[in-house]
Symmetry: C4
């Protein structure tokens, strides 16, 4: 059977999503969802803060929308390993131990995530796992950990070429596999050495930039790169900075192996309603893990509305390919996402990153990039945020988008 | 005997083409020509589709113009190697086996091309040849394969410096040589790590960019580089994007070792007549392999006219050096190609990549770049597409070129 | 206890400064201060010049402000090692030996600094320590050296990737530690291979650019890079050149591990009073080592006033985080520095690098970058150079700054 | 004794020139001078052409001006090594052998230069020395070779990081030293991997760009880089292209270890009188080897006048530091060169690379860059091409320079 030229791209992607997963732990077939301690608590974590967050997640029924993992970030251990070289949890913070914490979280039907670093120290300068990978993986498996966020600080110069970074992160990948327990492996090397090229065979996701900050769009010297190739990923990266870096990388992800755009800033101060919707939509479309970072015990109604938009979550977890950008102009960007169910459906998202509300016209030549035949048809469009039906459009579509807002139609 | 200064460049090239070939398999002394399954069929291949294409190629007498190889791309194997570590063809797609397919193709007087990847998996996630090079080369030789396209997906971080990439691709080069069967070795590492510097001693051709798409000239985030040094080659690279990347690389090719600009998009939708002629001409001038990618069983008359222009094919297969660019302006580019038969002949090609038909004047100072004496003479010019005789020109030449078109004079 | 979102950044930094130091020698918990021979004497050093400088430092009571180390730079040795492979001091320059010199300096209550290079030769082409690290460290410890400046010349190609540079500098780090004597380890590899990523676990400070020159702001081919990623660091780097390179790097430093912006040019010709104050302020704010380089025996009153401004020295040695830049405009830059004592105090510094005196308005949105709540309050401001009290400001601050000058308010 | 601040730069350089040479063969204490076969004869060399050139060099008395080496470039050998792995000269081109040729050249009082490549093949695809370094060095010493130009073609991926390139070129350096015969080692790796950083300890000179062409200033795709960091050095590099790349590199050279800007194009067509003087002057000022490349048997009077200007040759061979550029403007560049004899003398050279004759004013602030005191004095100036005395100038100097010309005053 001949596949028509016009469906080539869609076909290729559909096929890929059905076949084997490069890292054979069977996890993250859709991007992982959950919550992480760092952005709210930083080092100030303990059993109560974490269980409190897990309970809030349950109470808000966020687990029913897919938010499954409660991830404990840095600063959970003592500053020294024990006499036999194992990490030790801080008994002041965790009087009943980490295993107990995992049990409690499992009892709620949630997954439990752990943190370490592929370095001599973690970023908070606790002991790192470099040269202790097997011991640490064994301990995490014994504690029934379901997820490992694995950072990049203090790596003793073991970066700078893809092979050096690959080999460093591969050691933990193998150590986790050897335990026999499926543990989602979330690499956090900030996009250094192009992990999208080599992480898919060893990890379920990889960070592709420096750390996010709750700022929409501002250059910050602490996140100096504008490009996905970056020698100083840093932190204080704005939403738009990360979106621009992510645009070329979607092609490298597939089921079980995702680009991670860092945690969500939905529900944090500094970002208005439009900005938060834009942020959440693009994270979903490019199939980044959706890990909340706000103080979940004080989730506003607005934040909850955004985090539980089923149409948007479907872009992440449903039968859609990975979103890609059609164009980037001074004040707007057009993003596209193809269905993988052979329906021919398509999502279009128009970002208004300008400083005022505006109207935009999108021509079909910017939607069907290399499929001229499809430009001739008409399509029904629905707004995925307002749920409005926009009727049938032909040749072009005209829409109003608020300042720092997004239109998402399907 | 003193070689006049004015003929220095031509002389050096002529000499080079007569001497030894760096990779000693005696193949691709001129750039290989043929057809490949991927752009039409992607993974949906089987014995019938491939033999159907081979028969169409014969019926159209394309073999008489030099199109010799029928190359089977990705997705021909099972997802597992057999118990002794050998690749296995998919018996549903190839009920009579690959050897039978090769025999049929050989019976038509054509060459048979195979595909694998220098990685853990192929790009379609079938088993790759990394760490299995000798077994796979032996199997390919046993199947009487004539050509290997060797891809770059899932290479486990074994890229990033020329030496790492060289060593990875050299293993297969040696394995192929060891079989005793001459197998044209077509490297496909998308120009990563400057293969033009190190591939000439181990391969017959090397891709120099990301994958081509049937678009004349449009920036696409999935092919984000504008330059030949590129850390994310990607795909959806337009014709002009590839031409611009190729311009500085011609100097690195020689007989038996060619820059590969990727498959031809002649005969595919989206490109008009002018664009297809431009595309085919430059591919011939820079001595890229000429591998068709359209649905050959539905070749239009227009596509056939282009693919069988003997004057243009002669630029690829005849006594001409490798084309190089004289200048690049906003809406035009001038390309040159020197004869290697000491005739002093020269080809000039003027690209109009602007958005309207236009007239251009080319001064001799842009044709005879470092040979001032030759600027004083007059030359007879023939248009290689219209076959018009343009008479004798002096000092400059004035020509009209259509939007997205090319003038090629000799 | 929940840490309010608004204090996240300050909190994280405060924590870091209290915990362990990556290089475990307990030194440079605040940036080192002192004086170095090179910029005044180059190779023309001897016992008298060095002791003369040490005495001048004491006489000016600079030690009471924190200037502790007297560092002897290149050219102190003979051109050959001795028969057993040890370095030999030049007996003409040091008739009583180096140990005697160290004793004299210790007797003044000062620390004594030594120089060598991680190469075959030093930059002045005396024997370097590459492959002799243990012998040299032992000798330095025997001489009771307190500080080692370790240069990068003639390194036999052992640079170009972080790992190669890390391993080269790590050898000396271990050799120094092995001696049992705490010796401050001051790496001088000019920012090659991103030392901020890998030096913190092995050194107390690392140079982050080429050598400084006493010029405020002039491009010089001998210091060709404008960016912190640089393949030819060179020398003749102007004050503003180094400031611009340093801006993104502050995030990588912490107690015991500092970015070194090179020696101070305070007190040298070519820089006017405003330029010197600007230079000294930023060096203090980004917590560079403060190593004087002028002819200390001829210190002008103006230079002394600058070098002994306690408010500015406090930015380097007191309870302040590492300064970072808020913005860079054509003629001005805004730098910020957060207190680490939970006082919520902040330092703002406005650089006028334009060619005339000017007035500037700084909005609170450029001061409290990701803490919107703090933008609503009022703050008392004091000028750290004039000591003027500027009263309480709200929403914005308006200030006049001289050409090439700086305003520093707290 | 205190060295005045104002003389620091001059002093440092003077010292360097007096001390040891990094590569201990005692050669090239000033930049080597001579003639090379390639640019005139390419592969068409034999005993007669080479001896003919040597005789012409003697007849023109060029040896009395310092032109000492006659260098035989590529294509002197057979295409195969002999049974014991040694290179064999081509007996048709050299019926009496290479040793005889060397003897003849020595008999004229000249030095004899040989060619090979640090690769599998030479650039002309004859056997290269990679993996045969000791055999080849022994043979060259046996033939009494005085000089080796060592090229970079077909290096099997052994480039891309400084260490890989260093190690490859170091093997030959050691092999040459081991022979006991002083052989000037002229590295030709086209500036790949920053040889100025690592070649000074193993070679007497290193090429810093792609190959020169006899064109004053034209972008050519075959020499695509404008910068000294370049991944595709290529050839067809214009005079101005090379000058711009060389500007930051002078700081890396010293006695016995020079940046090589490639062969002279003086005496070739395409360059006018002004362009040739400019070219020769800058090559001398930056202390590049001065290796003629024209057809020396047909040397014009004009070419001879240029090549034998003693004032200019003195800039290369006399007591002068390495030239550096003060500024680069659209149509002009100012170059400076300090005396090393403590005379305080200085050379200033003003390039007019604009398209018309013009008048230029040079302020003293652009001559005495970091020595403000010297700006106050007056200086006598002499034109080194016209020999005119320009009298005493103060504060600034006003001069007329022809299109593509140079003014050199001392």
């Amino acid at each position: 059977m001949v596949i028509p030229q016009t469906h080539r791209a869609v076909f290729a992607l559909a096929m890929v999503l059905k076949t084997i997963h490069a890292i054979d732990n069977g996890l993250a077939l859709t991007p992982q969802m959950g919550w992480n301690t760092w952005n709210t608590f930083a080092c100030n974590i303990n059993e109560d803060t974490i269980l409190g967050a897990a309970k809030a997640l349950k109470k808000l029924k966020l687990d029913e929308y897919g938010y499954h993992y409660v991830v404990m970030d840095d600063c959970w251990s003592l500053h020294q390993r024990n006499a036999t070289g194992y990490l030790q949890y801080d008994p002041v913070k965790f009087p009943k131990g980490i295993k107990h914490l995992a049990d409690e979280i499992h009892a709620m039907g949630l997954g439990f995530g752990m943190y370490s670093s592929a370095g001599k120290y973690t970023c908070g300068r606790y002991p790192g796992s470099l040269a202790f990978e097997e011991k640490d993986a064994d301990l995490f498996a014994e504690w029934e950990v379901d997820y490992l966020k694995y950072d990049n600080c203090f790596n003793d110069g073991q970066s700078g070429t893809p092979l050096i970074s690959f080999e460093r992160y591969e050691v933990m990948s193998k150590a986790l596999n050897r335990t026999g327990r499926p543990i989602l492996y979330s690499m956090c090397n900030w996009g250094e050495d192009s992990p999208w090229d080599w992480a898919p065979t060893i990890a379920n996701s990889w960070r592709m930039s420096g750390d996010i900050i709750n700022v929409f769009d501002r250059y910050d010297d602490r996140c100096p790169c504008e490009d996905y190739i970056c020698r100083l990923p840093g932190h204080h990266c704005s939403i738009m900075n990360i979106i621009n870096k992510a645009a070329p990388l979607g092609q490298k992800a597939h089921a079980g192996a995702w680009n991670d755009l860092d945690m969500l800033e939905v529900g944090n101060e500094n970002l208005d309603y439009e900005e938060q919707k834009l942020h959440f939509t693009i994270w979903a479309m490019v199939k980044s893990p959706l890990i909340m970072g706000h103080d979940i015990t004080h989730t506003s109604d607005q934040a909850l509305e955004i985090l539980t938009n089923k149409d948007i979550i479907d872009l992440s977890q449903g039968k859609w390919g990975i979103g890609y950008r059609s164009y980037k102009k001074t004040n707007s960007q057009l993003w596209l996402q193809d269905a993988t169910d052979n329906s021919g459906n398509m999502v279009i998202a128009l970002i208004n990153n300008g400083e005022k509300d505006d109207e935009f016209t999108i021509g079909f030549e910017d939607i069907f990039l290399d499929e001229w035949e499809r430009r001739k048809a008409g399509y029904k469009v629905k707004d995925l945020w307002t749920k409005d039906d926009l009727g049938v459009i032909e040749k072009k579509i005209k829409i109003k988008v608020k300042r720092h807002g997004i239109f998402v139609g399907r």
